[in-house]
Structures are given as structure tokens and as C-alpha cells.
Amino acid sequence: MTIMIDTGNRIAAKAAIMAKPEVVAAYPITPQTTLVEAIAEYVARGEYKGEFICVESEHSAMCACIGASAAGSRTFTATSSHGLLLMHEMLHWAALARLPVVMCNINRVIGPGWNIWTDENDSISQRDTGWIQFYCSSNQEIFDTVIQSFKLAEHEKIVLPVMINLNAFILSHTSMPAEIPEQRVVDEFLGKHIAHWKSDIDNPTTFGNIIGPAYYYKVRRAMQQSHLRAKKLIPQIAKDWKKSSGYFHGDLLEYYKCEGAEDILLSMGAIGAESKIAINELQNEGQKIGLARVRVLRPFPTEEIIKLGKQANLIVIDRNISVGLEGVLFNEVKAALFGTSDIKATGFIAGLGGKDVTYKDIKSMCRKAIQGTSKAQEWYAMED
């Protein structure tokens, strides 16, 4: 085991390389660029022996990953914001084709105007593509989640692509220490990639030709069933990883001081990490408040949210918005609670366009929610 002090992007690249994908295809976009550059350095040093395809667009990056995965290889890519949006069609394709592509997405604002800071509208707008979606809050979690994602994606009961999200700059460009296990540990944990289907000259099949409604209906149901199975497998795989590496990042939510809480804050990504400081201070001030950081948005942790809804009032901070409705996490939390709880749920939109969200802001939002002085869905710190 070694300690690596480096940025989220470079630690993600380290994890990806240690997972030994046979093919990496990627296209640079700020703020993912340093991740791709790190992979290029591994190639130059001979530490990565797979194929590194520098494609001419993110769309082609995903297509090349699809082709490589369909030919039987473990594959990895990374992107951000507009790059992720350009991939949109192929994100659906990878999931429907049941190809276990693993991808890091650096959560960045969508233009216009050009803005390279963080919010989560890029990945949120891809939530219906069939990809499993993780949201990380530290560089250690990025490392562990990337490794675990290969295991999950390639698991015979899943066989789906996985997206690991990390906030632009707050994680992608911020150095933090992460414990890196020996290569042997990763090798033993992941094992050799076994393709569950592939284009094979010894067993020639046609993949993706015209499919009638009855069969297609089954394809969609099978995807849904795999997502539901993933809810059990994600913690299981994390437990196995803990046995190997000592680190556990694996529940669908990370619970922080929720015992006895009468209010629970729900948030994702870097705001989730910042929220811990806010919770500490609010508890010191006598508030009975805890934190549940949502790590997995798809599959959605419905059962866990229902449990929280039986215990406490919920406060949700969204760094995203489904325009014309509300914050997506807030909306989905309320949908999960429907008919099971009559607790109060309060939603805040915060940090869009990369606007800073400090622990003081989080405390302020929590206080407003607890005092009942906030609107049903409030734009926090919006100057008119």
C-alpha cells in the first residue's frame, strides 16, 4: 500500500490503469483533460500496455469503447459536460448493448455561456440512459469506486456500463491523499475480464439487427432487473473490496450522524463532503440533524429513502435542476416517499454554474428548513 497525494483526475486515472482495461478511448475536454493526459503518461512510461485510442470526438470515444467491449475487451473512458452530451446517443447504445464500459465524468456546467465550473446537470441529463451512476466526494472514494465499478459493470448479474461522477475542480483538480493498494490486490479483486457476449468468428452472431416490439420489451425489462440487482451488489462488492484493501465505499448512501436525527440532509458529490462540517456544527448547536449523502443515483435507492422518511424530515440540496420542475434529487426523493410517509421534505437549488456552496451556506439552508421559513423549493442565495 502506498499513499498517493494527487488530484481527483490523476487518482481516477491511476485506478483506471490499475484495473488494466485492454482499450481506453478518449477525447480531451476541460476539466477532464488532466485525466487523459495522465493515461498518456502511463502509456509513454510503458506502465499501460493496452490500446489508447485518441479519437476525434467524444461520440467516437464512446463508439470505440462500444466496439472494443463488443469484441471482448475491458474498456475505459472519461469525459465531461458537452463531451458527455455529445455521447448521449451512444450512452443509450452501450447500455442497451449490455456492454460494461466504465467511464469517469467530471461534472461541469453546460453552455452557453461557456463555464467550466461544476454543477451536475451534465450527468443528471443522462440518468435515463441505463448507466449506473455514482457520485463521489473524495479522492479515496474516486479510487475505490473506479475499481469497484469494473467489478460491478462486468458482474454476470449486471453487465451494464457504469459512470463515476466527480465535481469539476473541487475534486478533479484538488490534491488529497488516497491509499493505493498493491497491483496484486486489484488484479485478484477484479480477475481477468470475461465478456458475457462478444463478436466472435467461432460463433458468428448478428448483434443489434432489427428487433420486434415483443423482444425489445424484454430487453428493457432485463435492464431494469439488472439495475435492481445492482442495489444489492454495490454494497456486496464494496464489502469484498474492503477485505482486500481495507476501504469501504459501498452503500448506496453514506450515512453521517443519522442516529436519533429528526432532520436529515440529503446531498450528492462534493456538497455531500462539505455537509459533514455543517452537520458537526449544527449538532454542536443542539440540532438533531444528520446527513445522508447519495452516492448512487441510478439505480435509485428508493428503499433507503423510505427508511429515512420514516425517521426524520428531509432536506435536499440539488446542484442541478430539471427546468420546469425542480431539483432532480428532491423530485425523486419525494417520489420514493409517496404513500409511505407524511414527513416534511424541503428542497434547495444551490451551486449552479459553479457557485460556491460552503458549509456555512449548508448550515443556513438547514436552519431555514428546520425553522420552516424556506419556500417549498428555494433557490438558495439568489440575488434578484
Partner: protein, 304 residues
């Protein structure tokens, strides 16, 4: 050059496929797959071939086929090729098989990228000069004055010269051929199979419903295109350009090309140039365009 009677008897395109009667794509597929053999993985974007494959869970192919999105053939093939290289399976040929819409237009960026990266694959464009799978709409390959459902009075623009775009990539092998010349197709595909790096072959594929001619005339329609000079047979190996068959004779002025009119008068898509009265202006423009094409070929490849 291997003679037709000596072609392999094995068929990788099976009977009972879902192509239209008289389909040139199936003629091309039979020839291409006879040349490539069973150690081939084919990547197919949206095009008529995605229909010809038949309905899941059936298939009309006896080789592995991977369908991919419309604009994605060359990028998808790049991934397949990289994977096979990692597996040490360099004995398998990766071929992308796409229509002219998927090549000239929506798939051009991915194709250019794959060629520039030196991807070891064969990209074959079967060119029927229209979006045929969607029901006959104009593409960048549609010739001037041709009717399509989106150029109702005839196309106002000239076709794109895809060959020039490909040659600008200076890949090891590029060729143009036509389904009416099976030995030419077979020879070019075989040659491409044995060259490392990116290879591009374009096959003219006269489409009976798209061009509006009788389904028993597919092969003849291709021959007439070459005779008229509206389509040229050539191959370019390591930047050395050779014209083949009648195209060579036309280039060297050993024969006169036939009037394009002799070809298009049999196609309903040009019917508006002949009925109710002759459209002399556009007929003249068509001949002048083909003349200018050959003048340019002669300047580039004969130096005169």
C-alpha cells in the same frame, strides 16, 4: 486477377435475406465476403444492410456482425480493431460496411478520424447515391439533377467527390469499383485485405427502387455508369493512382466515354429531364460536369 468461375463457393450472406429484388448491396456483400472469408467481423451502421440482416432472432449473415449508430461505423470498427490487436487476433479482418449517407455525410468525421489514426481496417462504402433505407432522400453522393423525395424537382448541387477527400488522407489503399464488375470488386477487396493500415473501397450500387429502373437491370445500370464516365474504376496504392478497365481507356482517351444521357435516360429519377420536354440546360450541365471530372483526372494523374 481471379476469374469469376474460380471465386470461393462459400457464402457468408445467406439465402432468405430481407433485401429488395435486384438489390446491388447484396451483390456487393456476396462478393466482398467471398474475398474476405469467415475470419471477418463486420461493423454496420444504419443503412439498408441493417434491414437485409433480417429480423432478430434471425440473421442472414454467417460472420459476426455488429450494428452501430448511423455516424459511428468507423469509430466502432476502431474499437473492434484495437480489441482484436490486444487479443493477438490480427488474423481477423475488421470491415466497416456503410452506405453513402453514413459515409459522405453523417459518418464523415468518424471515418476521417479512423483513417488519420492509421486504423487497420477496411472501410467499404456501398454507394447507391441516396438515403435509400429511409426511402430515397438526397445525400452528398446524389448526382446533379436527380430526383429524390427531398429534391423533388431534381438536385441543384453536384455530388461530393468522396474519392478526393479519402485520397487527402494518403492511406495505403483506396479504390472505387462497381458491383457490375465482380472480378474488379473481388480483386480490390482481396488486395485491401492483405495491406496493413486503413483501406477505403467505394462500390457503386445502382438501386432499382431508388433510381427508378427495372429490377433486372441492376448490373447493366452499373456498367452504363462506367461507360459514360459518370463513375470511374480506380485504385490508389501508396499514392500511386491506377485507373482500371474502361475507365483507364477513357482516361487515356483510347475510347470516348458514352454520353451520360445514355445512362440516365433509363432511370426514372432523371425522367423530368426528358418529359414532358427535354431539359437541354441541365442535360448539358451533366455532360459538362463529367467532362470536367475527366479533365481533372487527366491533369492530376497523366499530367496533361
Amino acid at each position: 486477377m481471379m476469374r469469376l468461375k474460380d471465386f470461393p463457393v462459400d457464402e457468408c450472406l445467406l439465402q432468405g435475406n430481407a433485401a429488395c429484388p435486384g438489390c446491388p448491396a447484396t451483390i456487393g456483400l456476396r462478393l466482398v465476403l467471398k474475398a474476405l472469408g469467415k475470419k471477418t467481423i463486420m461493423v454496420v451502421p444504419a443503412c439498408c444492410t441493417s434491414v437485409i440482416e433480417s429480423l432478430y432472432p434471425h440473421t442472414s449473415f454467417d460472420i459476426p456482425v455488429m450494428n452501430i449508430a448511423f455516424e459511428a461505423a468507423a469509430a466502432g470498427a476502431s474499437g473492434v480493431e484495437a480489441s482484436l490487436r490486444q487479443q493477438g487476433r490480427t488474423d481477423i479482418t475488421v470491415v466497416a460496411w456503410a452506405g453513402d449517407g453514413g459515409t459522405y455525410d453523417i459518418g464523415l468525421q468518424a471515418l476521417s478520424g479512423a483513417l488519420e489514426r492509421g486504423t487497420n481496417f477496411i472501410y467499404i462504402c456501398y454507394n447507391n447515391q441516396i438515403y435509400s433505407n429511409t426511402g430515397i432522400q438526397r445525400s452528398g453522393a446524389t448526382p446533379y439533377a436527380a430526383w429524390t423525395t427531398t429534391t423533388v424537382g431534381g438536385k441543384n448541387e453536384l455530388r461530393k467527390e468522396m474519392g478526393d477527400i479519402i485520397l487527402a488522407h494518403h492511406i495505403p489503399y483506396a479504390a472505387q469499383t462497381c458491383i457490375s464488375y465482380p472480378e474488379d470488386v473481388f480483386s480490390k477487396v482481396t488486395k485491401a485485405k492483405n495491406i496493413k493500415g486503413p483501406k477505403y473501397i467505394e462500390i457503386l450500387a445502382p438501386c432499382p427502387p431508388g433510381w427508378r429502373f427495372s429490377m433486372d437491370k441492376t448490373v447493366e445500370m452499373g456498367r452504363m455508369a462506367v461507360d459514360s464516365g459518370a463513375w470511374a474504376l480506380w485504385e490508389c496504392e501508396n499514392d500511386k493512382m491506377i485507373f482500371n478497365g474502361k475507365s483507364k481507356l477513357i482516361l487515356e482517351k483510347k475510347i470516348q466515354r458514352k454520353p451520360v444521357e445514355d445512362w440516365i435516360k433509363y432511370q426514372g429519377r432523371f425522367g423530368h429531364l426528358f418529359r414532358p420536354q427535354r431539359d437541354e440546360k441541365r442535360l448539358k450541365a451533366i455532360e459538362e460536369y463529367v467532362d470536367s471530372l475527366w479533365d481533372r483526372y487527366r491533369k492530376c494523374y497523366l499530367g496533361k
